[in-house]
């Protein structure tokens, strides 16, 4: 089997390892480009969300490079992502391709189906081998997450712009080559060392921003027009609401999802609406309570759950006194346009912080009226 799959942030690297260690050939997708998106958008329904279009583009590129199997995954409703498999199959067949499409459902919801599909994928390797393969993949995934977290911490304080991103890329390259557990541990150490070498402005006190929203646009930098990097270089320390390891624990290996966020969302949205809609509502509250300076909601254009979440944002923003910027992303979204909006948002947060700190010097009663005016 020559397997291709969607490119979602650092996951592609781990998927490549998984597939190759199971004895299959991996047609590793490259980071999506404008061409990938244009190719996908040409054959996708107009109002399909951007992950659908990017994935289709990635598949088409992979198929042209000789892939014969596509592996992907999605939830089981009511978000549209669960239907990608069937609709992609329809479109690809219509274009004259006939790949095998293996679409993984959450293992706990469709256990039998999942085991069948894994059995198909694991090929010649035994179930016992699989344990080792998964352990190594997990080690790499954790190392990558650690690297991302550290990069997010130091990027706003770097003295020379872009240095963190370069160090991060070097670090992921080390990890990409590592396969055995000892190699992964070594590569992780080397990669973290690369990041620690970056010169920092020790005095800086960066703004803190939480990134929330739909998983694909959060995790794939191309899909979110590099929002994480852009914000970081503007001097903002970002945190995402989704990291691959936590996502695997909460949503793949459990049916409950991130309970903290869901609990917080209850008074506002007491209903599971699919995707990360309910999480987005809860996450805003969570970040507000943790004292963040702002929240950026990322969502693909026409994403149904995020639209519902967005309609609650003005209310939440007022009630919890936290600025929220929503970016709906489609194939027309340009990097410059988004940068301008982010810059304005960062300015707003800076002014807000100054006002807040001056408010704290005022006597208590006037502070009250002032902060409600904010």
């Amino acid at each position: 089997m020559k397997i291709t799959y969607p490119h979602m942030g650092t996951l592609a690297m781990v998927a490549e390892q998984l597939i190759e260690e199971m004895g299959q050939e991996s047609v590793t997708p490259h980071r999506p480009t404008r061409q990938t998106l244009a190719l996908g958008a040409r054959y996708s329904p107009e109002f399909a969300c951007i992950p659908f279009k990017i994935c289709l583009g990635t598949y088409l590129e992979g198929l042209d490079r000789g892939a014969d199997t596509i592996v992907s995954g999605g939830g089981y409703g009511p978000c549209r992502a669960g239907l990608y498999g069937e609709i992609h199959r329809g479109i690809l067949n219509d274009l004259g391709y006939d790949p095998e499409i293996i679409f993984l459902w959450p293992p706990l919801k469709k256990p039998v189906d999942f085991i069948k599909k894994v059995n198909l994928l694991k090929g010649p390797s035994s179930w016992f081998d699989l344990v080792g393969i998964i352990r190594r993949a997990w080690a790499k995934l954790s190392a990558l997450d650690e690297l991302e977290l550290l990069a997010q911490d130091i990027r706003p304080r770097e003295l020379r712009k872009g240095e963190t991103s370069r160090a991060f890329n070097r670090g992921t390259a080390y990890l990409d080559r590592a396969r055995a557990l000892s190699e992964i541990a070594e590569a992780r150490e080397a990669a973290l060392q690369e990041l620690r070498k970056v010169d920092l402005d020790e005095e800086a006190d960066p703004l803190k921003v939480g990134i929330i929203g739909e998983i694909y646009v959060q995790l794939e930098p191309f899909a979110n027009i590099y929002v994480e990097e852009t914000l970081g270089e503007m001097g903002v320390r970002v945190r995402r609401s989704i990291y691959l390891t936590s996502y695997t624990k909460h949503d793949v290996l459990s049916t409950k999802g991130d309970l903290r966020s869901k609990k917080l969302a209850q008074p506002y949205l007491p209903q599971l609406i699919g995707g990360h809609g309910q999480n987005s509502v809860g996450d805003v509250i969570r970040y507000a309570r943790m004292g963040y300076d702002g929240v950026v909601q990322l969502a693909p254009f026409t994403c149904i759950p995020e639209i519902v979440a967005k309609s609650l944002m003005p209310h939440l923003s007022r009630e919890y006194n936290i600025p929220v910027l929503t970016l709906f992303i489609d194939e027309q979204t340009g990097r410059t346009g988004a940068e301008t909006r982010l810059e304005a948002f960062v300015d707003l947060m800076e002014q807000r912080r100054e006002k807040m700190s001056s408010v704290e010097k005022l006597p208590a009663e006037s502070r009250l009226s002032y902060s409600s005016a904010l």
């Binding site: 329904p45 109002f47 009511p78 007491p270 995707g275 254009f301 639209i307 967005k310 609650l312």
Partner: protein, 340 residues
């Protein structure tokens, strides 16, 4: 106590049920006006820009009702068959309305979540009684029973091909008038072989709303086309077709559209063409539309998608419909000549 029901979305499928039940409890039921330009403008003003047209229109209807009623009736439609849910926007609808910013009367957001329609409807009714805080005249179970009866009559009327608004009017007229009307029903005229039959697929709140669809239904009738819609597919056929696809959609209304497309395309000659009507920025329809398109392409049946948005021009729709119908006529004539 006056309860307001927006005249859109699930209104088209369940209004007789709600109305009979609420009136049985002794509350007055008020409908919003039919969708018009003003309601649309209100809706656009009050909704997030990314929402689809039906949701914007719903907000308009809410604004239309808010000063006239004591309670707004916006049930949370989750599921009526235990498998498919409604579109996520239906699931979050009461919350979207409640936090839309306008000053609104309290919202009755009872949840419909049933494995089978009848069994799940009882908790739904009980919740309405609780939220309304009214002392019903009789036991509310009586009105629940009446409501279900009325709903069944309504669904049977829909199956005969009566559009929802006419079916509701028919249910409300007294039996004598109804008997007279039945006698006057026009006999199926003309040569049935040569009349075009088109499957008009889409969600009831788009198809039958004369404003959003710019009166599509009537326009096609006026062109002398026989129309069939998802409402005319017998329930048993729907159930059969629900087991055909490798994977169904996750959403109730989308499933109805995809199954009815399968039904109408199943046998050659059942319909001469398929029109899929969709609302601008409708999420599920991005998938459904592709599905119906590929299905029609496989069966070599002409297919047309019409997307309705805030400023669909009537002229544009008329031209496209005429072109499509003309094309179908030419095709049919050629085929009949070829056969003869």
């Amino acid at each position: 106590m006056i309860v307001g029901i927006p005249q859109t979305l699930s209104f088209y499928s369940y209004y007789p049920l709600w109305k009979t039940f609420l009136e049985g409890l002794g509350v007055e039921v008020v409908l919003s006006r039919p969708t018009n330009r003003e309601i649309l403008e209100w809706g656009i003003r009050d909704t997030v820009t990314d929402a689809c047209i039906p949701i914007k229109i719903l907000h308009g209807h809410v604004i239309d009702l808010k000063d006239r009623v004591d309670r707004l009736f916006i049930p949370r439609m989750v599921s009526v068959d235990g498998r498919a849910t409604f579109c996520p926007k239906f699931l979050g609808l009461p919350d979207m309305v409640r936090f839309s910013g306008a000053k609104l009367p309290p919202v009755i957001d009872s949840r419909v979540q049933a494995t089978r329609f009848r069994s799940g409807i009882i908790p739904f009714f009980r919740d309405i009684v609780r939220q309304l805080q009214v002392k019903p005249k009789f036991n509310w179970l009586v009105s629940a029973y009446q409501a279900c009866q009325q709903q069944r009559n309504y669904q049977q009327l829909l199956l005969t091909g009566l559009p929802p608004l006419q079916a509701m009017r028919y249910l409300e007229t007294d039996p004598q008038v109804r008997a007279d009307a039945a006698g006057l029903a026009e006999p199926a005229g003309g040569n049935p072989g040569s009349k075009l039959k088109v499957a008009l697929l889409g969600y009831p709140y788009v198809l039958y709303d004369p404003f959003i669809s710019s009166n599509l239904y009537q326009r096609l009738k006026d062109m002398g086309v026989d129309l069939v819609t998802p409402e005319q597919v017998p329930p048993r056929q729907m159930r059969r077709l629900s087991r055909v696809l490798p994977q169904n959609f996750f959403w109730h209304y989308s499933n109805r559209v995809s199954w009815s497309s399968l039904y109408y395309l199943e046998k050659p000659g059942r319909v001469d063409g398929v029109i899929h009507v969709t609302a601008f920025a409708c999420g599920p329809d991005a998938m459904v539309d592709k599905f119906v398109e590929l299905e029609a392409k496989k069966k070599k049946v002409p297919f047309l998608t019409l997307t309705m948005d805030e400023h669909t021009g009537e002229g544009g729709i008329q031209t496209r419909l005429e072109a499509f119908v003309d094309m179908l006529r030419t095709k049919k004539e050629r085929e009949e000549k070829g056969a003869g």
